[in-house]
């Protein structure tokens, strides 16, 4: 499935941060988002995921094709690793979690309560959730935070497998994942200009 983003403008805290963002992401490709802190990478990913409305422009396909992994993984400390994952699988109507457990090397941890995991292990569990959503486009916000080198390789391999079966991924990250078939999009050129008079409704107050 091809992702098309056309002339997208996004808002954070009532002000435009990015505008005119356009890109095409064919299936089996990944897109790495780059840009300085505060440029709006997280906001762009949240907009793609349908968590906040775009100020202008359009995104095809809609949020139903997107799976989003933010900084927070939504892991419940008192549930086991397997229970955590199985919950998201049931919610998304996916039958099996064995592949996801295997891909992120969580099989030996399956019975452990998620609260007893290390930060890196939790992160792996959070990323494994993406594999059980059954969705075509994966959106990652700084996925490699608190992962060691082996786990980063594990993550890159999992994304690689997702691309092989025709999926795609948008990843905001500063490190090189060594992904085959990854394009880079620098967001700095899309930084929104400071608002002028009569520009949009926020400036009605200026």
């Amino acid at each position: 499935m091809e992702v098309r983003v056309e002339d997208l403008a996004i808002v954070r805290g009532g002000l435009r941060v990015l505008e005119g963002v356009s890109f095409r992401l064919p299936s089996a490709r990944a897109l790495v988002l780059r840009g300085p802190n505060g440029i709006g990478k997280t906001t762009l990913l949240r907009t793609l995921a349908g968590l906040q409305p775009a100020d202008a422009g359009r995104v095809v396909p809609g949020p139903d094709a997107m799976a989003y992994a933010s900084h927070a993984d939504g892991i419940k400390a008192t549930l086991s690793v397997e229970e955590n994952l199985r919950f998201w699988a049931r919610l998304h109507g996916t039958a099996s979690i064995t592949a996801a457990l295997r891909d992120f090397n969580l099989e030996t941890l399956a019975e452990r309560p998620a609260g007893s995991l290390s930060a890196g292990q939790k992160r792996r569990l959070g990323l494994a959730r993406m594999a059980v959503t059954g969705r075509a486009v994966w959106l990652f916000d700084e996925p490699t935070i608190s992962l060691d080198a082996d786990s980063v390789a594990l993550f890159a391999a999992a994304v690689g497998r997702h691309l092989e079966v025709g999926g795609s991924a948008v990843i905001a990250t500063h490190i090189d994942l060594g992904l085959a078939g990854a394009d880079v999009l620098d967001l700095a050129p899309y930084k929104a200009a400071p608002p002028e008079h009569g520009h949009d409704f926020h400036e009605a107050f200026l």
Binding site: A49, G50, L51, Q52, P53, P63, D64, M66, A67, Y68, S70, H71, A72, D73, G74, I75, K76, T78, L79, E83, F87, W88, R90, L91, H92, G93, R129
Partner: protein, 221 residues
């Protein structure tokens, strides 16, 4: 949705889930009441139905901020919003899970606490029935309040301030049923408040999840 309800139930009965806290709070309210109003059984039996309703309502209020706040803090609410079930369904499932872990135990415990407050014999059936029918409305309204305040750092007190006025009609009709029941009025005497209580519950179940979902969406932005 079943998955979400099952998960919320599992979370609430595990360590730190807070299951039973509401029940303990209810017991404490019932225990403290005679200390405040005196031990005369005549006094207690006239106010028993009202105190039991008020105690159940406050116990219910106590656990409201857990409905959504925990999921908000660890990011699960955001992920639920991107999941294939509509957010209205999430709000309804959360309210149902809250009722099963709070409203239902309170309803079942109320007759036992009625003994402590010397509730007149005909009141037991009506107290239990009115709580069974009224407490779902408390959970649904509470979920709406929780949805409004979910993004706030210290939303607990604000949540009470917003939710308590919304509880007024439910409390009036619910306590009225229990009170008239305790006075020995049969179905003929209390069918009006009983029907109105049921009407409020059904209407809130049907409509409020939409408002709750709208509030969650706004708060996630």
């Amino acid at each position: 949705m079943m998955a979400l309800i099952a998960r919320d139930l599992a979370l609430s009965v595990r360590a730190g889930g807070g299951f039973g806290l509401a029940l303990a709070f209810f017991l404490i309210v019932v225990t403290l009441t005679p200390f405040a109003v005196g031990p005369e059984s005549a006094t207690l039996s006239t106010i028993a139905a009202g105190i039991l309703w008020l105690g159940a309502l406050l116990a219910c209020l106590l656990s409201l901020d857990r409905i959504l706040a925990l999921d908000y803090e660890d990011g699960a609410l955001e992920l639920l919003a991107t999941a294939p079930i509509p957010l209205e369904g999430v709000a309804a499932a959360k309210a149902l899970a809250h009722w099963i872990t709070t409203g239902l135990p309170l309803t079942l415990a109320a007759p036992a606490f009625g003994v402590l407050l010397n509730l007149p014999a005909p009141g037991y059936v009506w107290l239990t029935l009115s709580l069974a029918i009224g407490t779902p409305a408390l959970s649904v309204i509470g979920t709406f309040g929780a949805a409004l305040t979910v993004g706030l750092k210290r939303g607990g007190l604000l949540l009470s301030l917003i939710v308590l006025p919304l509880y007024v009609p439910t409390l009036i009709f619910g306590a009225e049923v229990a009170r008239r029941g305790a006075e020995g009025q049969g179905l003929a005497g209390l069918s009006t408040p009983f029907a109105l209580l049921g009407g409020i519950t059904l209407a809130t179940i049907a409509l409020l999840p939409f408002a709750s979902a709208a509030a969650i969406r706004i708060n996630l932005r």
